[in-house]
């Protein structure tokens, strides 16, 4: 059963992580493979809201076949980390955290070297072929994300950090 938690659909302020003394986004997108049917609506919604096209190659989150168990799906979406590896690795300091805790790539500073995609554990940033710079999830600028809105089965959910952490732990059986 999907977790029922009341979330604020719009980000208002970042959350301070106590010991790390770092700001992160209030909410985070969580994927539950048990519900996912591989309809890829999240990718269509993402591609449309960012690039005005239905082509899923433009999406900023990825759903793929799970090679281990046929008929199930794996997903990779940005979780706007406490210590983003992409931010640490960027040679031009093009990646920054904004006032809401969203990790963004500045299109003016990015030189398209691709180090961010290499260092990210799930390779979220991808090359934008027209601008030749790297692009990544911006959590729809703090609005209710389109991928979550479009998800047909509640497999993608927007959850507050704390609940999301517990939920993922439960999903993985840790």
């Amino acid at each position: 059963m999907a977790l029922k938690v009341k979330v604020s659909k719009r980000l208002s302020a970042p959350v301070l992580v106590p010991i790390a003394n770092e700001n992160v986004t209030e909410n985070v997108i969580i994927h539950n493979p048990e519900f996912c049917t591989g309809c890829m609506q999240c990718m269509v919604g993402c591609a449309y809201s960012h690039f005005k096209t239905f082509d899923i190659n433009y999406a900023l989150l990825y759903v793929n076949d799970n090679p281990a168990t046929p008929g199930s799906w794996v997903n990779a979406n940005c979780s706007h980390c406490v210590y983003p590896m992409c931010l640490a690795a960027c040679p031009r300091e093009a990646i920054y955290k904004d006032h809401l805790g969203i990790v963004r790539i500045s299109p003016l500073k990015c030189i398209g070297c691709g180090i961010c995609a290499q260092t990210c554990p799930i390779a979220v940033p991808r090359l934008d072929n027209t601008k030749k710079i790297y692009v990544k999830c911006d959590l729809c600028n703090g609005e209710y994300p389109n991928c979550v809105k479009m998800c047909s089965t509640n497999a993608l959910q927007l959850l507050p950090r704390r609940e999301a952490f517990d939920y993922v732990k439960k999903l993985r059986g840790v």
Binding site: G38, I56, K149, S152, T153
Partner: protein
């Protein structure tokens, strides 16, 4: 706030059946069968009249959520005016109505926005309308016992099931379970496959037709062909639309992925047809073999032979 709380006094509830786009134009047999089933179960069942497209969630929700809400509001306002409980058998229609109602009741400013635009057409939405899925009506309002009692001729058929994505919105143990239990009550043996929960690909067709057809549809077809099932049972007319398109593409262009070298001849049947057959109606009564892309003649002869 749940939009579709089940009522206990189901017997006097007036249902308005929402047809949607695909049902009247591509599945007349399922439409007729639904009416036969509802008549047999003693429901006060009629069309919801003057309906428009439910406003497809896959397209409009991405393009313009406000238009999506307003145009769905028009359908909901119509149902309210006609004083019926809106019943959808298409998952896409159901999710549109259900989510819109939930969102509008949750956010009064959106409701005001919708009513402002609806006022141009002399309509008004209060939000008192109830939205139900056909499965919810069958399982929650009618009940499995009554369905079991009405069954005259248990069908000895093997079937693959495909319920569709949106029906999983309330959880895997709500509508998918209803679907399985109703089918099993009809005497259908369900074959489990790893791709049971996979999407039909309708939502993906505009974005990536090759993945949509070759991966999602043809994989299911291949499984059905390999397992030698009598039919694929569906509930959603949107899924039927996509399977129909898959069959047409297979006939027109063949299969470059080599999954279906012998073609495809497994019929795709709606739940209401299975119920109608189990209730003892003849296939001709709802025109079962007319206007279909894969002929169900084998299935019909099996049902009629097994008297």
């Amino acid at each position: 706030m749940t939009a579709s709380k089940s009522k206990t006094n189901a017997s006097n509830e007036k249902y308005g059946y929402f047809l949607g786009c695909v049902m009247p134009a591509k599945m007349p047999w399922a439409e007729k069968a639904t009416f036969l089933v509802a008549e047999k179960l003693g429901l006060s069942w009629d069309y919801m009249k003057e309906t428009l497209c439910c406003v497809r969630p896959g397209v409009w929700k991405a393009i313009d959520p406000d238009t999506w809400l307003t145009l769905t509001g028009q359908n909901l306002a119509l149902a309210e005016k006609q004083g019926v409980t809106l019943v959808d058998s298409c998952n896409g229609c159901w999710i549109t109505h259900y989510e819109t109602l939930e969102e509008l009741l949750d956010e009064p400013e959106k409701m005001a926005m919708v009513n402002k635009h609806l006022a141009k057409a002399n309509m008004r939405l209060e939000g008192t309308v109830q939205v139900k899925h056909f499965l919810q009506v069958l399982y929650e309002d009618v009940g499995l016992d009554k369905i079991r009692k009405s069954i005259k001729k248990p069908l000895n058929l093997r079937m693959m099931r495909h319920i569709g994505c949106h029906a999983r919105k309330l959880g895997n143990d709500v509508m998918p379970r209803y679907f399985d239990e109703i089918l099993e009550a009809c005497g259908v043996e369900l074959v489990d496959t790893p791709y049971d929960s996979m999407c039909c690909g309708l939502l993906l067709y505009f974005a990536d037709p090759k993945t949509s057809i070759y991966r999602n549809v043809f994989k299911k077809f291949k499984l059905a062909q390999d397992l030698g099932v009598d039919a694929i049972a569906i509930i959603c007319s949107g899924c039927y639309d996509q399977f129909d398109r898959g069959i047409k593409i297979l006939e027109d262009e063949g299969d470059p992925t080599g999954q279906l070298p012998q073609g495809f001849d497994v019929p795709i049947v709606h739940l209401s047809e299975i119920l109608a057959l189990a209730f003892g109606y003849k296939p001709e009564e709802f025109g079962m073999d007319v206007f279909r892309t894969t002929s169900p003649s084998k299935l019909i002869s099996k049902v009629e032979g097994g008297k």
